[in-house]
Amino acid sequence: MTTAATDATPPRLPAATPPQRAGTATPQPVGDTSAEPSGATSPEPVGGTSSELLAVVASRALAGRRTVFAGIGLPTLATSLAQLTVAPRLEVVYESGVCGAHPSHLPETIADAVLITGAEAVLTMPALFGYVLQGGHIDVGFLGAAQIDKWGNLNSSVIGDWHSPGVRLPGSGGAMEVMANAREVFVVMRRHTPRSFTAELDFCTSPGPDRALADGIRPLGAGVTKVITDLGVLERAGAGEELRLVAVHPGVTVGQVREATGWDLKVAETLATVEPPTEEELRLLREDVDPKRVYLR
């Protein structure tokens, strides 16, 4: 439904820079977030990585977490795997209002009827956004975006000028609320490029705590604390901190990541290499979580 939570995958950007205002040949960026399982148009991710790798890395990051606000697609894979491994008591809350879903089939949207039947609770929007999210009950929110900057601010509104955009993207949905209220936010970006990891957002839809503070508003959460991409993992602890590279995938160099980043990316003193998925993680993903490979591509 929204870039907030439907899918951690950002809308793909048009190939041209700046985006063609009359470009009929540009791919469809609005909402083309490949959450539709039959959306087989997505290219294989670059960098030799895969949905499996991203899902495994994200799942490990959920260890010890109690509640996740997540969408469909990669977050489904990550949270389901986490429930089978590091976070057996993890509760997934969907933007549609569903808590404690027990779906009979793999859900295709955050509002899929199979998420409702047999769920533990279905909440109205005022309760979901007001009591659960703003009320402080969400440990981790998954977000996607078209652009992210080094403070973890996100753009999901427009490419170009808001008043006359090159590309009109879906907008906030609930992303701004997830950013403002979840204890921390994980961002999964399938493609780490200088255009999406940008020094200057075209538009800031969902601000992190630093921008909130500068606007005189007290932030309630830490903002983006982890970004998982096809090249590696970036982290920051909260307000006042930049994202820094803490791990690369096997075979990826620091130089590659810095080159793919639109700002002068800082690197952790001790850089790790991401532990590849274990056989057990892959088996669970492939056999239990998504045996029909709806999201595993």
């Binding site: 439904m1 907030a4 439907t6 205002r21 469809q28 609005v30 909402g31 083309d32 959450a35 539709e36 039959s38 697609g73 933007e95 549609s96 209002g97 295709e108 949207t109 955050i110 509002a111 899929d112 009827a113 409702i116 039947t117 279905v122 109205t124 929007m125 005022p126 956004f129 007001g130 999210l133 703003q134 509104s157 808001w162 008043h163 955009p165 090159g166 590309v167 009109r168 879906p170 907008g171 906030s172 949905g173 701004m176 609320e177 403002a180 209220n181 957002l201 538009f203 800031c204 839809t205 969902s206 992190g208 630093d210 921008r211 909130a212 606007d215 005189g216 508003i217 007290r218 932030p219």
Partner: protein, 312 residues
């Protein structure tokens, strides 16, 4: 007490309550989207509407293509996760064929606008918007200083949104009685607040049921009769979205829409065939054929009853 029979045809309800230049809210978060009402608005050629809808999706793209809408108030503009809204993007990106005034909010910003509207409040505070560029392009977003000290003892600021009071709100639900006591289940979203915020409210339902059905479970009535002006029976009126327990989502249509709406000609011929070319929603649904509807049919998963008790 006597009951007022508020049942109307869709045609009469739209003709009575949706006026050119008015503000129309259509709500339903993925579930129970009032598509049939949107189509009837297109058929009746309404113009210059302000359309309010948290998730502006296919029905909004269609109303844009029908030339009904000059202003949109929303927090998400996209074809669910299935692709683009072609007409909406042409309108916003290129003013093609006409400009579209767009008021952009976040989801909770819209929720709070409905909450303020339903409660006759001058504003509603929320914890979003601090540092967002939306505050630069949306003059509705303002700040208030709390009269209580913040956690650090200093004055605390918070953003607020203004109330939203549509001229008419249209929602779709599973069932209602003839006076408008409306029951919905599954995802219930913002429907009750959108109805209470409105000057007039139209409830479109899968079925009108006997009073006894509603009264067997009064907690299920999320929209009481006193908030409703018209009840329209319109089975399958939420297609291509779904009605929990009645029919499933038409995912193929969502995917197809991205292609249909990408091409203005194709979009207009779709409208000609499926909206202008059908007299009403009954004709629209019949055109799909029974086999199609069978493919969206759902099985039974009944709620267990609760006891309301009876004085002995």
């Amino acid at each position: 007490m006597d009951h007022v029979d508020k049942t109307m045809t869709m045609r009469d309800a739209i003709a009575s309550f949706v006026q050119d230049g008015g503000t129309v809210a259509l709500e339903g978060f993925t579930h129970l989207i009032p598509t049939a009402a949107g189509h009837e608005i297109i058929r009746q050629g309404r113009r210059d509407l302000t359309v309010v809808r948290m998730t502006a999706d296919i029905v909004v793209d269609q109303m844009l293509a029908g030339g009904c809408v000059s202003r949109l108030v929303s927090s998400f503009v996209g074809n669910s996760a299935a692709g683009s809204l072609g007409e909406l993007r042409r309108r916003i990106e290129r003013a093609d064929p006409d400009p579209l005034v767009y008021e952009e909010y976040s989801h909770y910003g819209m929720v709070c606008r409905y909450l303020a509207g339903a409660q006759r409040l001058p504003f509603y505070p929320l914890r979003s918007y601090g540092g967002s560029d939306l505050t630069g392009v949306n003059q509705g977003l303002r700040k208030v200083t709390s009269p209580y000290p913040g956690p650090d003892g200093e004055p605390e600021q918070v953003y607020v949104v203004p109330p939203l009071n549509p001229d008419v709100t249209i929602v779709h639900a599973q069932r209602a009685d003839r006076s408008g006591n409306t029951q919905l289940w599954g995802l219930t979203g913002i429907q009750a607040e959108a109805v209470y915020a409105a000057r007039k409210a139209i409830v479109v339902v899968e079925e009108i049921v006997d009073d006894e059905v509603v009264r067997s479970d009064p907690n299920r009535t999320l929209i009481p009769a006193h908030a409703v002006d018209a009840v329209v029976e319109c089975p399958r009126g939420a297609h291509p979205s779904f009605a929990q327990g009645y029919y499933d989502r038409d995912n193929a249509f969502y995917r197809a829409w991205s292609h249909i709406s990408k091409d203005p000609e194709r979009l207009r011929s779709w409208l000609a065939e499926w909206v202008y070319g059908t007299r009403d929603h009954a004709e629209y649904t019949a055109k799909f054929g029974e086999e199609f509807w069978t493919s969206l049919a759902v099985g039974e998963a009944l709620s267990l009853p609760v006891n309301y008790g009876r004085r002995l």
